[in-house]
Symmetry: C2
Subunit: 211 residues, 2 copies
Amino acid sequence: MTASPAGDPPATCDDAPIERRRRDAGRTRHVLLEAARARFARDGYAVTTVRDIAEEAGVNVALINRYFMSKEGLFEACLTTAVTDVRRDENGLPIDGIAEGIASRVGSSTDDDRLRVALLLLLRSSGDDRIDELRRSVLSAVSEKMAAAAGGTDPDSALLRAQIVLATTLGIVTLRSSLGIQPLSSATEQQLLEPLRDLVRAVLPGAETPS
Amino acid sequence: MTASPAGDPPATCDDAPIERRRRDAGRTRHVLLEAARARFARDGYAVTTVRDIAEEAGVNVALINRYFMSKEGLFEACLTTAVTDVRRDENGLPIDGIAEGIASRVGSSTDDDRLRVALLLLLRSSGDDRIDELRRSVLSAVSEKMAAAAGGTDPDSALLRAQIVLATTLGIVTLRSSLGIQPLSSATEQQLLEPLRDLVRAVLPGAETPS
DNA sequence: CAGCCAGGTCAGCGTTTGTTTACCTGCCCT
DNA sequence: AGGGCAGGTAAACAAACGCTGACCTGGCTG
């Protein structure tokens, strides 16, 4: 599997056409990080071995410890990128249209959409308390932002309700990726949009759903 | 931790007051199964070691292989009990009052409520395809039963919507147990009931919520 | 009471895990 | 052209894993 590691010459060019350099620390680090993100998100921390990740990245196993100190360091780096992805994404949040946002985030089916992978990563635990606290804080921040966007009168109730909507989002991502339950797994973004609109409008107090 | 394994004499009785027998295969099997359920549900399959389970149950490690063939066999037995729990529970489903059912199932905070543990177990994977198919089928069955209970016109749309409600349920259980997000984690069954009522009424087409 | 077997213990097997050490080698600089 | 070093490789480490076989022993039966 994974016959061409990362940037193999497609056998039609002779010397050094595309590949940047033979030895590129930054590139290697990046390839390793992407492979780890995918495996950790799909299979979880404990199941994934460093040899799996290295093989998928087409890189020597020892380089994981060289660039990330340890397996846990690599996982923390993955989570950091996930946090960055989520943070950047929620800045572009449409104030109204929360349902649309969830649908588009959750919708992409099997492609490695960055945000779907990021959400899955936030659900994975390595057992390290400090990293768990990171997961907790960013998930809390997302729910707070959603509660603020939804408005409403009682702030405490709004936060609880926003976290229920967040639970729905994470639950859908889980059911679509881990299990393969039909029709949820093969539902398109369009098909998810209508029920999600109903859900958001009902659960979030002051949320407006544009036509 | 767990100083008294399962049924220690409470130090106030001399000889053999409560403990049934010194050697009881059925009891040992049961204790093992309960310990495994708790650990698998809380930490997942790969993280949990057979030595952990045996220690928590207060029995010898080799007995796991004696009574359940393998670690995977033990996990399958755990899932089977979870399936039984879920099946028995959904038989007593109130036709109306789906929200009440979810709230009561999800509500119990840190106690090892059987149904909460069962739902968590259904989210854990051992990597075995056959067992995964079991998880898939029972989760599908739950959503189908919910869709049937909710009624509605279009059966396909109703199923998708029921699975979204199921995703919410599983998401809440996950957020409450794995992470400790506030205020969701410490919300009582009562506090969860109101938003869940709104959610079910909006997402499930023909669901009636009694006053 | 003696015999027997289900129930339980113990030590160690082979494998896989994350990690480290010592060693090459491509690439830049003067 | 040729050191020098960052980038990469290979082999092996100790620890932990699931599992197994040979071995005890409590408790019922004849």
